[in-house]
């Protein structure tokens, strides 16, 4: 089984965001960057499938700046066989442009399965993986929490509002991973040592037409200071009163 896992380097979830002077980007200094959390589930699933098959290759692919090499190394330490960085200096804000770059890379790669995290916690579009499936003309299932693959076919379960959708498809296919798909492994020391020697290919790519222009990036409006309405059970009456008369939500 040949499996691609498309990954992204993102600010850690505990990061406090500061807007840069250009009003269109964040201040990166002092931020801890990590592998996108949902991509960990994608990578774990790829490794499990390869282990279950007893053969195969897992390739981690990232679009980004040189700093993404470190993120690819993290996946190599988890167990991916090799990595590819599609290098660009300035990422497009148009998710379709990113999807096109990946589709071009993946098209003739002869992959049985292409995995993504369901969304990147920076951009939050939840779109690139599904777009890649469409661009390649192969099945895709997004936000998958349970995956079974056998005999060139797959069954995926995805959470929808108040239920779980069960989807059947044939390989090759694109799957985007939701939390709950598995328990991602931590890279062991041996894995980290081995990762340094695994191949990581860097290729420059560029994007041309974009139809999404970022006008501004701002911090969300600060919430007006709230107040403690009371202590213990005695506060309940006061809370009910303000929710009724002041907030008008009851």
């Amino acid at each position: 089984m040949k499996i691609a896992v498309c990954i992204k380097r993102v600010p850690d979830t505990e990061t406090r965001i500061k807007i840069a002077d250009d009003g269109k980007s964040i201040v990166e200094a002092g931020i801890k960057f990590t592998l996108n959390p949902y991509d960990e589930y994608a990578m774990e699933e790829a490794l499990k499938l390869k282990e279950a098959a007893g053969e195969g290759e897992v390739i981690a692919i990232a679009v980004g700046t040189d700093s993404s090499q470190e993120t690819i190394r993290t996946t190599l330490a988890m167990g991916a066989d090799r990595g590819i960085l599609l290098r660009m200096e300035d990422a497009p804000h148009d998710v379709l442009a990113t999807a096109r770059i990946l589709a071009t890379e993946l098209r003739d790669g002869d992959y049985d399965l292409i995995l993504f995290g369901k969304l990147a916690i920076d951009d939050y579009s939840q779109a690139v993986g599904t777009m890649v499936g469409e661009l390649l003309g192969i099945p895709s299932v997004s936000a998958v929490a349970t995956l079974t693959i056998s005999d060139g076919k797959g069954t995926a379960e995805r959470e929808i509002e108040g239920g779980v959708e069960v989807v059947e498809f044939a390989l090759p296919a694109v799957i985007t991973a939701d939390k709950g798909l598995n328990e991602p492994r931590y890279p062991a020391l041996r894995g980290i040592m081995m990762a340094k020697k695994k191949p990581l290919e860097v290729r420059d790519v560029s994007w041309d037409s974009v139809q999404v222009e970022l006008l501004s990036l701002e911090l969300p409006p600060a919430r007006a200071a709230g107040r403690i309405v009371g202590e213990g059970v005695a506060g309940v009456g006061a809370l009910i009163e303000v929710l009724k008369s002041e907030a008008k939500v009851l």
């Binding site: 579009s125 995805r158 929808i160 701002e218 059970v233 506060g235």
Partner: protein
């Protein structure tokens, strides 16, 4: 005159509440562009699509086919692209639900158009201007979409339904022939008791580690029940990671970002990643024994105290109001 296409969502042949919000968002664009709002519903032929003029639809197309009862990605995307081509759309709007988040990128890839996901505000100035939370709500991006047929998915609860009086004339069409499905949704498994999804609820009561034991979520469920049908249970990452609650209920950066009318955080300290997911709630209430908990910094109203005493009392009082 062009068309703003509003893609409405049905479940079991009934339109979802968020569909009226999509119509409202479409109307907002149409008022600026002078376009008509054309609603498209994909579903079984018996889907009830009457009366949509009252929510802002100028006309309505029901693509009626038994195969569209469940969400079938390929059939839905194919049918929608046909509708877009037929209507010559200025923009295509849908809801950022499980269905919408899967469908939007498919049509964008097929049409080669622009996408803005999970949008909370809209404007038009020689192109759609969309406001959307990024970094799961830690920042707000304003983007401009260009090119033909840009696609916008709107966050549930971000646009209030309208009260309008338009024709809303219904045409039913058949699913186009030759539309290919590359996957098949074979069933939807539903839990024994139907629950409202946390992303769609107007009132959310979320529990955190302060509840001490998974069984104590009963307190949260009781408070939710007191609010009635429009409320849902939420959970912090800590309790989801501990296996107390399902990921479907998680609010925060690796869970759901929500904008309810009322958010009640119970025994949740208020980690950055949690606050990111709920800070756009209209009113936030925090109940916590630690008066220095960060959650009180963003809450509108707080009660410092033992949740095991406060929450049952609150449920009792809410129930009284709801029953009166």
């Amino acid at each position: 005159m062009g068309t703003v296409l509003a893609v409405l969502e049905q479940r079991d042949g009934t339109l979802k509440k968020v569909s009226y919000e999509v119509l409202s968002a479409a109307r907002q664009i149409a008022e600026k562009t002078g376009d008509v709002v054309h609603a498209v519903v994909l579903g079984p032929p018996e889907t009830d699509v009457t009366g949509l003029g009252a929510y802002g639809a100028d006309n309505v197309t029901l693509v009626g086919d038994g195969r569209l009862e469940l969400y079938q990605a390929g059939l839905y995307a194919g049918a929608l692209v046909e509708s877009v081509n037929a209507a010559g759309s200025t923009a295509i709007l849908l809801a950022a639900t499980a269905l919408g988040k899967d469908l939007a990128p498919r049509i964008v890839a097929r049409l080669g158009s622009a996408l803005a996901s999970d949008v909370i505000g809209l404007d038009y100035d020689n192109g759609i201007i969309a406001v959307r939370p990024v970094y799961s709500g830690k920042a707000i991006a304003k983007v401009k979409l260009s090119g033909a047929a840009p696609v916008v998915s709107v966050r549930p609860n971000a646009f209030a339904p309208l009260s309008d009086s338009r024709a809303g004339e219904v045409t039913q069409v058949a699913l186009g022939e030759g539309i290919v499905a590359r996957s098949e949704t074979v069933q939807v498994k539903e839990p024994a008791t139907a629950t409202l999804d946390v992303a769609e609820a107007s009132v959310i009561v979320s529990g955190g580690r302060g509840l001490k034991e998974p069984e104590n979520f009963k307190l949260i469920e009781d408070l939710v029940a007191a609010f009635g049908g429009d409320a849902a249970v939420g959970a912090s990452r800590a309790v989801v990671d501990a296996g107390w609650r399902s990921h479907a209920e998680q609010v925060g950066q690796t869970g759901k970002t929500v904008s309810p009318k009322l958010y009640i955080a119970v025994g949740i300290s208020g980690a950055i990643q949690h606050i990111a997911g709920m800070r756009t709630a209209k009113v936030i209430v925090a109940i916590n024994r630690d008066k220095d908990a960060p959650i009180f910094k963003i809450a509108d109203y707080g009660i410092v105290g033992d949740l095991f005493e406060v929450v049952p009392k609150l449920a009792e009082e809410i129930a009284k109001i709801k029953q009166s």
